[in-house]
Assembly symmetry: C2
Homo-oligomer: 672 residues x 2
């Protein structure tokens, strides 16, 4: 009785409004609340879930070239709105996306200093929060420079987080590591935080448009265990962003879920991007492709012309024939165009229209089309963005005329145009230019060495995939043995939340002739599982085609679709294991992928998602007897079983093993 | 010392020439000897191996319509010859065949009775013996009737034998059973005898031409444990053979080996047939095919026209598309032609040129050819041989014009033309007529409900395959649950020694909607093993194509060839297990099939046959965890491993399980 009284008093004390102007906006389901306003003249927000603080009081603001935009503020307006809509993805992990949020717009004005107006807009979803700054057009603010964004995320606890360091992550290709936030250096987003058994948060930015990439630096401040302070990737002169009012920043996002799997199915990132700007999307397709590429890493071929040139007419025809035979729709050919000779990261002589003399570009594309296949044009820039922009219209016009609707771009160089960081506003502007130009020419883009995706594929669904993580290629040439076993159990919870990943799975030959100690640190079955676990609308079968000949496991690659109706996470522990089930968008088939880290694991997969009363056939590819990524990755077991809703499939995953399952309805035999 | 003396005396007694005229002819390697001559006026032969009797004194002769041709003989001439040649098979299990034998021709003449001359010709090979009777043209012998052939095979021991009873074996489709010879009823040939750990014998006939099929009846006679006496399949009037001098009988054959596997690689049967009579064999091909057929057994389709008609244009196009997509060269369509309506085993109204209205015969063949596929025309006769012979020229001319080079014939009826046994001289004459007519029109024949093969495919390599055993179809409709687990471990040692088998393996869906308790009594891996264990130059993938969709194990069916350079039996115990390795004729690839009976088994396969110094990749399909023909036939494990000459592959076979292995040389990646 006494305890209850104290608790009630305490609640009453906490409920007393603080001496500040603030507003509360709550998620549609009422669980998540954002309190935002001004405290001592400084804009702030805080986030609670069911009353518990998730983000403590965190301040907002900027340093501009003309002065501070961080204090002296009053709340001058408040506007609330709500949205509950369902929109359809051109392609994706789920066909229909629910966009349901409550919005609060706070109008702030400095009563001293620059005396500028600044709006902050919060959108609170059932699975998280996004906010952005808007600089209204106003007297005293035309062209301006953001010297620093001061956004904070004040964490109540020093939670464990999966991050990549900002420094040293050219192309965002570091390993993701887990440690308490306070022990982190400056890190790039996304940041995946495990703040307890039932609190998972991912910090990132959405709709990164004409701005700098967002990073966070952990610092110790009063009022929080650790405070993450925004740190934008700068121009070389130190400016973060060149802006002209009116101006809006990208959204600062925080996905908030109780289960790690719910991070993967969150659509918050997409919902905080603009609707599709491409009127006719009929040319945007999904599929799978092979490529003349892994052979370069294996030293069978060279990118440059010469006796071992990979991109020859005859070799490409072999790849086209293979693709046609196996129902794959694309053939990527790297090294087809002039510019690879010499040091292409310095020489800046790439042509995007002129093929090497031993490569019949137009003839090959005609041949490919005659077989229901298309070339995917490879455009390595060596980071020379201006050169690429100069040729872009000509090249894209040529590709469009030839019926080539997909390119893979690359930016292998520490700096863009030898001067600016790829992730600075300079780089972001270039990448956007490419996407928009490609859209005009009906070309899909797979962007290697990209900007970190931010959900932009909603607006430009021709931005189909990208890199920005350690892909399969590290299993070819890295001097650290390859991606570690836990890699695939982390990526979907980290980089995968930013956007689709061109991981290029499907290495079937684990012997690396070029760098013997390096190879995929997985079993063969786990290579198959990656086709479900890692989403992209165009999925590569990355190995040299010789290594697929006679391989029954290739059937799964033939069968697995790349466009889905619905995605479910069946189980997940970040860094340890993960199982995803996806329903094909074109049929009633389901596809399941499971993967584990270096530890073997037995999983029970409950098929509660199948249609009631329907009979299905499950075709299960699992690690076979003796499979182990260290000693013998090859054994793979294939089992067929009849299943119904509610049945359980038991799978054994080997050390760094996996399972891939195709579930198809049992239909009467087609008659006539 | 005393014992030795007695033995020596005994040997001396036995060595005393008996009071008869006889000759000895020995195999080229000297191990097998045939002694033949006349004893008390009766022609006889006996066989020893390394001095041990294998066949005791066995008498020869005939009852003719005019009298006996079994005694009163003297040896009037003796001729010896030898042959050592190597000939090449148009297709087969081994490309080159060594034909090496010593021959003895005994001229016999009756000094009383009919006073006729009769020659007996013996050929002794390293792996057995063949002999035949020749009736010279002579006074007193023009047209004659053989009322009984009196050939004996006198067995020194009452050995175990695998046989099919003559009675009740319509179409030779009884189960093969093992028992001592003395306990057998009259049995058809081949007869496979296990006369101890190192003596295996197979009795049969070779070059069955214008004669009756050979059966043997075990009787007890002095001088042997059990004596097999020839019993020819008669005409309904009791006559066995209508003959005109000069006349030769088929060869009576006895393969003799020390190991069961050597039975399988014996070429004695082929060597006792005439060389190829087809001058241009370029149109005789090898391949694999699918068919609209299993669906009828599953009650998805009907042979006759109607709402569930299987042989429709649309359905056939699906099968053609499937075949083209998977590199199969043939599509068999049953029920395409008029005559299936009503009781086709009585109505006798089949047309072999007129298609049902919903089947565009010519259009489909054009479509098939455009995709590198061809129809295989199905010709069910219902046993009405005369009707078939009447239409044969027209039909074969049509097929030839359309580019159809293969037919499958059928004779489902207890009697041919409602009157004569299929295996009588009447039937044998008809089957030969079909093969010869087909050869003239460049058509290959797969003969269901056939004559028991006798190696005739050497002479007419367009006789590519046949039935004459319990094929896969028994797993569809038999009321005894299907072929037992040991079935595949017997067939290659019994029926398989007579000729190629159109077993139609490859059932992937073990659920039988039509006869639920009946289904293949094997695992899925064993279905694959059958593609190696059961030889035929045109191998079917028998299941409905829907059941192959998404099945990685189908890769083995795509890959396994049907024409081989060389065949080895790696291990064998008749009725228990069997492993065969075959080298592709078109590449350096090897294919291995292993199967076991109802008992699980671990086998070690020594790869001594691989080329020295070469690196190979072995792709192993084996029974997966929990695989068991009784409970779950589906689990299959696929493993890749690098192998070299002398390496050992260990495989675990589930109850009624199997393994299928493809071994390919590891080659440098193709460049340009």
């Amino acid at each position: 009785m006494k305890m209850k009284l104290i608790a009630t008093l305490l609640a009453a004390v906490l409920a007393v409004p603080l001496a500040l102007a603030h507003e509360v906006v709550t998620s549609p389901d009422g669980h998540i609340s954002v309190t935002a306003g001004v405290k001592g003249g400084k804009p702030f927000y805080q986030v609670t879930r069911d009353g518990e603080p998730i983000i403590n009081t965190s301040y907002l603001g900027f340093e501009l070239n003309t002065g501070s935009l961080k204090d002296g503020f009053k709340v001058v307006s408040r506007a609330r709105s709500s949205k509950n809509e369902t929109w359809t993805q051109v392609w994706g992990e789920d066909k229909d996306v629910v966009n349901h949020y409550n919005e609060l717009r706070l109008g702030l004005k400095q009563s001293k200093g620059l005396k500028l107006r600044l709006d902050v807009v919060f959108r609170v979803f059932n699975d998280g929060v996004g906010f952005r700054y808007e600089f209204p057009k106003q007297a005293g603010l035309t062209d301006f420079q953001i010297m620093d964004e001061l956004t904070q995320v004040a964490m109540p606890t020093d939670a464990q987080a999966w991050t990549q360091p900002t420094q040293g992550t050219n192309y965002y290709e570091s390993l993701w590591t887990k440690a308490p936030l306070s022990q982190k250096p400056e890190v790039s987003t996304p940041i995946t935080i495990e703040a307890g058994d039932s609190l998972y948060m991912v910090l990132h930015d959405a709709n990164l448009t004409d701005y700098a990439s967002l990073n966070y630096k952990p610092v110790h401040m009063a009022g929080a265990a650790v405070t993450l302070v925004a740190s934008l990737t700068p121009w070389q002169n130190g400016v973060k962003v060149y802006a002209t009012a009116p101006f809006v920043t990208p959204w600062r996002t925080c996905i908030i879920t109780r289960k790690p799997g719910d991070l993967i199915t969150s659509k918050l990132m997409l919902n905080l991007n603009e609707p599709c700007k491409i009127a006719d999307t009929s040319w945007i397709t999904c599929g799978k492709y092979v490529g003349i590429w892994w052979g370069m890493h294996m030293k069978d071929y060279t990118w440059a012309q010469g006796p071992k040139h990979g991109a020859t007419t005859a070799n490409t025809r072999r790849y086209i024939d293979f693709a046609a035979r196996h129902g794959l729709k694309g053939v990527l050919v790297e090294g087809w165009n002039y510019g690879w000779d010499g040091d292409w990261t310095r020489d800046n002589k790439f042509s995007y229209t002129k093929a090497y003399p031993d490569y019949d570009f137009e003839g090959l594309q005609k041949y490919a089309l005659s077989k229901g296949v298309s070339l995917i044009a490879h455009n390595e820039t060596g980071g020379f963005a201006k050169t690429y922009e100069d040729q872009m219209e000509d090249a894209f016009s040529l590709y469009e005329r030839m019926g080539i609707h997909a390119i893979k771009t690359g930016y292998v160089n520490r700096l863009m145009d030898m001067k600016e960081d790829q992730h600075s506003q300079y780089g972001i502007r270039h990448y956007r230019k490419v996407i928009e130009a490609a859209a005009r020419h009906k070309i899909m883009v797979v962007n290697h060495e990209p900007a970190m995706p931010s959900g932009l594929c909603r607006t430009y669904p021709n931005l189909i995939s990208g890199e920005g993580f350690r892909g399969q290629e590290w299993n070819a040439w890295s001097n650290d043995g390859g991606n570690p076993p836990y890699h695939i159990c982390i990526l979907p919870f980290t980089r995968g939340l930013a956007g689709t990943m061109d991981f290029t799975p499907g290495i079937f030959n684990f012997t690396n002739k070029a760098v013997p100690k390096t190879h995929p640190q997985t079993t063969l079955a786990k290579q198959l599982a990656e086709y479900v676990l890692i989403y992209t609308p165009w999925q590569m079968a990355a190995d040299e085609i010789e290594n697929y000949e006679g391989q029954p496991a290739f059937q799964f690659i033939e069968d697995v679709p790349t466009n889905f109706e619905r995605t479910l996470v069946l189980n997940a522990k970040i860094g340890n294991y993960l199982t995803i089930a996806r329903k094909d968008r074109e049929s009633d088939n389901w596809y399941i992928g499971s993967a584990t880290d270096e530890n073997p694991r037995d999983l029970e997969l409950s098929l509660n998602f199948l249609d009631a009363g329907k009979q299905y056939k499950a075709m299960i590819y699992a690690d076979g007897p003796g499979a182990d990524y260290r000693t013998n990755p090859y054994p793979i077991t294939f089992t067929t079983q009849q299943v119904r809703q509610g049945d359980v499939i038991k799978v054994h995953l080997a050390p760094s093993g996996g399972a891939a399952i195709e579930i198809v309805p049992v239909l009467p035999v087609a008659n006539k």
